[in-house]
């Protein structure tokens, strides 16, 4: 199949950037979206042009490195799918495909379609962990956790930190990400001692990074490749308000 690509090209953080039209030819419907980009890049290099810079790593849908706003939808048209797991059979021959980087003040563009997501790392550094003494692994049954709670913790822990929630939010809000990182610990006994401090510190860092607020559009939930529900945002709000207003340490 042949495709009419509209790709964001930007040579560096200081460059203004622009959309560029690129014709993709000889694309197989069985290629993944990133394999399609690999093919386009090989053709660009063969023609002596700059290849398109884009983020990728595991290509198995589990690392959260790939991104891409595809025709205005984070990770493209398929639900619960990362860009690397999106396949070209989701498109038709002759389609126009718009590719843009995640857009947020806290995600500055590095080059073309690559953005700097270290603001997410700083939010996690602010409190997305449990402080434990290292040593021998404890017995598996040392902490009894009800199955339902363990499942909820896993639902939140499925977050791969790709940033699709921010990219798709009309407000550029990171609340689904932060809520998932708070939520997976809030549902486990190990997360309890630092629960209040964690909620306050991580939300404070989220605000410092310049992410927007939640207007309950729930666009984040709709594009999340791991289908993390917005219930965790409600739980984060509760944790944050309780911790902040009651002055819990």
């Amino acid at each position: 199949m042949n495709l009419n690509l509209h790709v964001w090209r930007q040579s560096g953080p200081q460059d203004k950037g622009r959309m560029e039209q690129i014709q993709a030819t000889g694309i197989s419907a069985d290629m993944s979206f990133l394999e399609m980009l690999d093919k386009v890049n090989e053709d660009l290099i063969a023609a002596g042009q700059e290849p398109i810079a884009f983020d990728h790593d595991c290509r198995e849908g589990i690392c959260g490195t790939c991104s891409l706003m595809i025709n205005g939808v984070a990770h493209g048209p398929d639900g619960a799918t990362t860009t690397c797991q999106l396949h070209m059979r989701s498109f038709q021959d002759g389609d126009a495909i718009y590719m843009e980087p995640w857009r947020a003040r806290a995600f500055p563009v590095i080059r073309d379609l690559m953005v700097d997501r270290s603001s997410f790392d700083r939010i996690v550094e602010a409190g997305g962990y449990v402080s434990v003494n290292a040593g021998a692994a404890p017995d598996a049954h040392a902490n009894l956790i009800p199955k339902a709670e363990a499942d909820l913790a896993m639902d939140a822990a499925a977050c791969i930190g790709c940033g699709a929630c921010v990219a798709s939010c009309p407000n550029g809000s990171a609340m689904l990400f932060v809520a998932a990182k708070i939520g997976h610990l809030a549902h486990l006994p190990q997360g309890q001692p630092e629960r209040a401090r964690r909620a306050r510190a991580m939300v404070a860092q989220m605000d410092v990074e310049g992410f927007g607020a939640c207007s309950n559009h729930f666009e984040c939930e709709a594009v999340c490749p791991k289908e993390i529900p917005v219930r965790f945002i409600a739980e984060m709000n509760r944790d944050f308000l309780k911790a902040s207003l009651c002055g819990q340490e």
Binding site: N171, R231, L241
Partner: protein
């Protein structure tokens, strides 16, 4: 106090302030509607209700002041959040971001909010102050059990018999319904009461509250406009 101020300046705190003041405003809108529905009970019933409220004296001004303060806090929180949201995405997408989950009401909260505030100003100038009275129905008096009182009933009937005035109220209330339909459901999520299990009920509550206010508030101008109520 410092702790509260710091919390309110955070994105979640500002949203919580908007939600809590929203609850107060919803209760006011509900009470206001129930009180005014007494127009269907006839001249004496509505005039007596209005006279009772006006006889509250200083307490009336305390209530008015509190309502104004709550409204201003609601607007301040909305502006604070809007400013943060706009700043969060300085470069827009070239291909419009597609909406997959949100609603028209949710996307237009700022616009509907501004319309409601403008309508509120008009509404107070119309029925409370009497400064903007296109229908010319303000300022009459009526007899209530031997006492001369403001003829609120006559003012309302005369006001809504004037077609442009009635239409302003109809349109403004439809926009208010939309604002409430998103707001009433949204505040439950913001304050942390929404879960996957009750998500449907939360949505229905917002829509139901909005529709309830819509039916009550639209019944008055529409029934008077079509001559079903009044003398």
């Amino acid at each position: 106090m410092n702790r509260t101020a710091k919390t309110l300046r955070s994105t979640i705190g500002a949203k919580a302030l908007m939600a809590v003041t929203g609850v107060a405003l919803l209760l006011f809108v509900l009470g206001h509607m129930v009180g005014n529905l007494q127009v269907f009970g006839g001249r004496d019933m509505l005039n007596k209700y209005a006279h009772t409220l006006q006889s509250l004296g200083p307490l009336l001004w305390v209530i008015r002041g509190a309502l104004l303060a709550i409204l201003l806090l609601h607007v301040w929180a909305a502006l604070q959040v809007t400013r943060a949201n706009r700043a969060a995405r300085p470069v827009a997408y070239e291909h419009a971001r597609q909406d997959l989950a949100t609603s028209y009401a949710a996307r237009t909260m700022l616009v509907s909010g501004v319309v409601v505030v403008l309508f509120l100003i008009y509404h107070v100038l119309h029925f409370t102050v009497g400064a903007v009275d296109f229908a010319g129905s303000y300022g009459g008096h009526a007899d209530l059990d031997g006492t001369e009182v403001h003829d609120v009933y006559g003012m309302v009937i005369g006001g809504f018999k004037h077609l442009p005035t009635a239409l302003i109220y109809v349109v403004a209330n439809l926009i208010l319904v939309m604002h409430i339909a998103h707001g009433a459901a949204s505040l439950l999520q913001t304050l942390g009461f929404r879960s996957q299990a009750n998500a449907g009920k939360v949505r229905a509550f917002g829509l139901g509250f909005g529709v309830l206010i819509g039916i009550g508030n639209l019944a008055m101008p529409l029934s008077i406009m079509f001559g079903m109520v009044g003398d």
